[in-house]
Amino acid sequence: MKHRTFLWFILPTLSAMILFIALPIVSVFIQSLHVGHEQVIVVSESCGPFGCTPTTSIDLEATAKLQDEQPLGKFNGLSTYTNRSHLAFQELAEAWRTTQTFGEFWDQVFNLPFYRALIFTLTYTAVVTPMVIALGLAIAVGVNNLPKFLKGPSIFISLLPFLVTPLVGSLILYWMVDADGVIGATLQNIFDDPSLSLKASTALTWVMLIVYGVWHMLPFSFITFYAGLQTVPEDTMEAAQIDGASKWQSLIHVIVPHLAPLMSFVTLMMLMDNFRVFEPIVSFSAEAHATSLSWIIFNDLRESGNPLYGSAGATSILTVIGVVILLTPVLIRTWRDFNRKAH
């Protein structure tokens, strides 16, 4: 295709993405290299309905001049990336120096907010992604083998968890999982432990979040694989059966290879979305036991009064880098496919 035609075709989507994503990413990165100017604090007194108390306030005029000269703030280089709320190089080095055993070192690392969030995020991604793919395939094969009249309703029901907005879906499950809710109470009955509560223990909260993650993402994987199953060539399947393959063998040796490109697509999307997990943590009120990278960003922007843009920006850039690292194997494969197709 001629370059100029290509440009005209791609212009609308490219300009939307550049304006609203690329430029903000650059701006976020630049913001993360700066910190606020020194605030001049003066002692003052505040009075209100409950009496007068000594307090401090900011002398805005003193900082105004600095603010006008350098509106972005004080240049801080990559220090925001290495401070305690992010990669914490100094704290890591000190922990390495002062701890005797690996267990102690690990405890200290887990104490740092970024690493705690990273560990949960990686665990979540590493568990949810393969489970969603494996179970999605299994259920797609299962539904494919159902009698015709059952297929339609099954597909419909299977898509339900994906349809609901994550905020609301996880809220519904949160209500049910509460120790007094239907699932929570049933679990207490099954395990005969009246004090069992999914929200009270860290391990169980992680399990609950992972189960929610699988429940929510399974339909996407299911429907993609189900569609793929419709295109498995009949002849290959019959040939395999004539050769004496059992159902399990034809699954592994015929169907899975045929669906391999689909699996890369689903893996790609799953890795990306799971690494940015956020809504379940808020809806399940799980912050005490599990935090994620997106949650740290949310916290920096919303819970600190005046938003900490630099810190949130640094965590965002680190998230993007993390996603790129995770996706590298899949991207290499796509690169090879692309080269094969284009020539």
Partner: protein
């Protein structure tokens, strides 16, 4: 066509059916439970005394006289004027899907037919763009939008949703177009069409399965969005999901949870109907494109 040999019941088949059955129950149960509970009062559905109250509606009978009550729905739709939010969602979603698909089909087609290296890099860039957390992007938008006086307007939200969802749309559509044989539009161009005419007369008629599927994902992304719509719309323009969140109350003030439950059911119902009707198109659409990756 399934042969007799394929229909033999083996242990594997039984396990497979059992797995599907368990999954169907797990998938449907929360929604059925919420649907049932939306006709009860708060002290039943969220009963701390006995969860079976939600089933029998003890307090509902006490407070309203019958086991089912429409109080949640009345409160959400009439008192809190949830229908406005539904209307806003309708507007936002319709325009987002239309614009998103227009931009996406043009871009996806170009990327599929390009053959040059830079097409790959644009796709990679789109992937990296998708990795950026939305909340950071939206926080960055707020000050410029306030300065230019476009905050709180539906068109602003529509454009932001279109732009944020472009990466996913581009990926899906580009793989659909890869599966439409090149010969079709190339022969049209040999016959004297420009590239755009070839696109319009040859490609558009056959691209619908893929477009419907991508449209559905775009629809879901716009319908279910919370991060963008909660921060970029004012109370009068709110779409459904932020409105539901606002029914839940804050730490200092009690909200009205049953309104939220009724609103959740009302918000999910159109999706059910949508899936019911478009089920076949979705499957055939996915078959037509993403299947071959």
């Amino acid at each position: 066509m399934a042969t007799k040999a394929q229909n033999r019941i083996t242990p594997l088949t039984i396990i497979s059916f059992a797995l599907v059955a368990i999954w169907l129950i797990i998938a449907a149960f929360p929604f059925l439970w919420t649907l049932w509970g939306s006709f009860k009062v708060q002290s039943d559905f969220f009963s701390k005394a006995d969860w079976r109250n939600a089933f029998y509606g003890i307090n509902t009978i006490k407070e309203t006289g019958s086991a089912f009550t429409g109080a949640g729905y009345h409160g959400a739709w009439v008192q809190e004027e949830f229908w406005r939010n539904v209307l806003n969602t309708g507007i936002v979603v319709f325009f987002t899907v239309v614009i998103s698909l227009t931009f996406g089909t043009l871009g996806g087609y170009a990327l599929a037919r390009s053959g040059f290296r830079y097409a790959f890099w644009i796709l990679m860039a789109a992937l990296v763009f998708r990795a950026m957390p939305h909340i950071t992007l939206v926080s960055g938008y707020m000050l410029p939008f306030f300065e230019w006086n476009i905050w709180g307007l539906l068109p602003t939200t529509i454009i932001v949703l279109v732009a944020i969802n472009q990466p996913f749309t581009l990926w899906m559509l580009h793989s659909f177009f890869l599966n439409i044989p090149k010969d079709m539009d190339e022969s049209a161009m040999v016959d004297g069409c420009t590239r755009f005419q070839a696109f319009r007369h040859v490609i558009i008629p056959v691209m619908w399965p893929g477009v419907v599927t991508t449209g559905l994902f775009s629809f879901l992304l716009a319908y279910n969005d919370f991060a963008v719509t909660s921060m970029l719309l004012s109370a009068e323009n709110e779409t459904m999901v932020p409105a539901i969140a606002s029914f839940l109350g804050t730490t200092q003030v009690q909200g009205n949870v049953m309104f939220a439950v009724a609103a959740v059911v009302s918000a999910t119902a159109p999706l059910f109907i949508l899936i019911l009707f478009f089920q076949r198109q979705i499957v055939s659409g996915l078959t037509a494109g993403a299947v071959k990756g």
